[in-house]
Structures are given as C-alpha cells and as structure tokens.
C-alpha cells in the first residue's frame, strides 16, 4: 500500500511537470491549434481548475494500482517496461474512451488524437518511473 502511495505521488509530480510544461510549450509553439479550445464545450469560468490540475495525481494513483498488480508481466530494461506499460494502458483505456468521446462530443478528430498522444505520453512517464523505482539491484 505504501509502495502504491509513493509511486502515485512521484509519478503524479512527474506527470504534472511534464504535462503542463508540455502544454504551455505547445500553446506557445502551435497557438493556432489551440483556438478550438475556445469552445463552450470546455469549462471557462475557472470553477474546475483545481480538478484540472489534480488530474495527474488521479491518473498516477490509478496507474500505480495497475502497476502494483501487473508489474511482474513487464520484463526487460526499465525504460522498455515503462513504455510497454504506457502503451497497454492506452490500448485498454485511452483508445476506447477517446473513441466514445469523439462519437458523442462536438470536438474535432485532431483534438481527440492529441488527447490520445497526451495520454500515452503521461502513462509512459508514469510507467518509466514505476519501472525505475522497481529495478532490482544488480548483482
């Protein structure tokens, strides 16, 4: 349990830094892409900003539980284990969720695709941190 909590906090911090740093960088590099976000679909009064910024920690807790249960199935170098973990999460959770989102919400395909890439990036970051922390000491 303590391991899940530690993994969750560390991965949450890493996802927070990489995600929001990446988001701000992407906004400054590709501003025109983000014009579609000025849409009534997205909350605009700031009342849910806290939820938005807590997302990395909610995600990392879920991923830490997943890792704790199935980590023995990932083998090889810690980076590869982390990437495989992130891709499996994308296959079983992200793709179906993005599929239903695109089918039901008035958002563009390119926007949903970037969410998929963003989610894969986040889960790979978490996976690499979990795998790095779970390395066996070399003999």
């Amino acid at each position: 349990m303590q391991e899940i909590f530690k993994n969750s906090v560390l991965a949450g911090l890493a996802i927070f830094i990489f995600s929001y740093g990446g988001l701000l960088m992407a906004i400054s590099v590709f501003p025109s892409f983000f014009v579609d976000y000025i849409s009534p679909v997205f909350n605009s009064d700031g009342s849910r900003d806290l939820y938005f910024y807590l997302h990395p920690f909610v995600l990392s807790l879920a991923l830490a539980i997943f890792w704790n249960r199935f980590q023995s199935m990932f083998i090889g170098h810690f980076v590869l284990r982390g990437l495989e973990f992130g891709l499996i999460y994308a296959a079983i959770a992200l793709i179906p969720v993005m599929w239903i989102t695109y089918s039901a919400v008035d958002v563009s395909l390119s926007m949903v695709f970037t969410w998929l890439v963003y989610g894969i990036f986040q889960s790979c970051v978490a996976g690499i941190i979990f795998a790095w922390r779970g390395r066996k000491p070399s003999s």
Binding site: Y20, I38, S39, S44
Partner: protein, 201 residues
C-alpha cells in the same frame, strides 16, 4: 383656495417657460439596416473579431436641442442587437462568445444613445465628435463616452464610426479561460459601430 390659486399660477408659469425658453430644434435620423457592429478582442493565442454585418432592421434617432443651439444635443433612440447574430468567423468561437455574453438569458445587446456633442446636420464631414451611450449587455447597463468619426456622404446621409474600449468586467462578465487558465481571453474589447444614418424629412 389660496393653495389652489398658487398651484394654478405656478403651473401656468412653468408651462409658459417650458414652451418658450426651452423650445427645441428637432431632427430625426433613420438608422439604416446597412449599419454594422464589430467587437474585437484577443486571447493569449490569437485575435478575434466578431461582427454583425447588417443591422437587419431600421430604427430612429431623435436629436433635440434648445432652439438655435447646435451643441449639447439630447438623443433618444436605441440599437437593439441580437447577440446570436454575432459571427466570429469561427463556429466554435462564435458559440463561446454567445455563451459568455449569456445570449440565452439576455438575447439582446442594447445601445442607447443619450447625447451628442453636435446636431447631425451641423457636423462637418471627416470631423470627430463625441457622445454618451448606455450599453446594456448580459442584463447590466453601463454608460460610456464614445468618440465618433463622421463621414458626411451628402446633406441627408451620414456615416458615424464609433469606437469604444470596454471590458468584460464592466458588465460583470468573466472573460473565458480554458485548460486551467492556459488559454485566456483578455478582458478588454474594442467595440466599433458603423451607423448609416439617413435624415427623415
């Protein structure tokens, strides 16, 4: 009895004063349907311009002032603008602006003209003049001094180009902010209206 006599005397006196000293010069000008309105704003990622290209209706402005005086003109008349007519040339931004301006709850933006520095007939072409307007948006009324650029097309037709910077916060509106504040609409907007006026004779 004395009280009644005093009342009648004062009523007569003020009625007489009102009809002589305060007699007025009046003009009526029709706001043509070709009049337009534009709201320009910016975000941290782009600029936007939302327009109402055609007023789609006609309205009348009544200008009145004391006789032989062409300054300090009182104006009576309004522009009633359907917020849903704003077009930002970007479907999603148009929808967001309409949501921000609470178009469902307050479907009309009303520009009420209060006064004008000069009588329209005496205004020189290519001159600048000023006037107060009251803008009602999202159920909140706010008065502004507007600067007009005048283009006199002929004796009976003039074009008024009005400019005024306003803020979302002037109308108790919060500029939209998305993705936890990563994308922000700036508080300041530039309202530009082009009034095509035709003198009613």
């Amino acid at each position: 009895m004395v009280f009644v006599a005093k009342y009648l005397f004062l009523t007569f006196l003020f009625g007489w004063v009102d009809s002589t000293e305060f007699s007025k010069t009046n003009e009526m000008w029709i706001i043509k349907s070709s009049s337009s309105l534009e709201v320009d704003g910016s975000t941290n990622i782009n600029n936007f311009s939302c327009k109402i290209n055609s007023y789609k209706q006609t309205d009348t402005l009544y200008f009145s002032t004391k006789e032989n005086e062409h300054k300090n003109v009182k104006v009576d008349g309004k522009l009633r603008i359907n917020v849903s007519d704003f077009d930002c040339q970007h479907r999603i931004m148009t929808k967001d602006l309409q949501k921000t301006l609470q178009s469902e709850k307050h479907p009309q933006m009303i520009v009420k003209f209060i006064n004008f520095a000069e009588m329209p007939t005496t205004i020189q072409s290519r001159s600048i003049t000023t006037g107060d307007v009251e803008i009602e948006l999202a159920g909140v009324k706010k008065s502004f001094l507007v600067q007009y650029s005048i283009n006199k097309l002929n004796k009976n037709n003039i074009e008024l180009l009005g400019f005024r910077k306003v803020n979302f916060s002037d109308f108790n509106l919060k500029p939209p902010s998305k993705l936890g504040g990563a994308i922000k609409v700036k508080n300041e907007l530039l309202v530009e209206f082009k009034l095509q006026l035709q003198k009613y004779e």
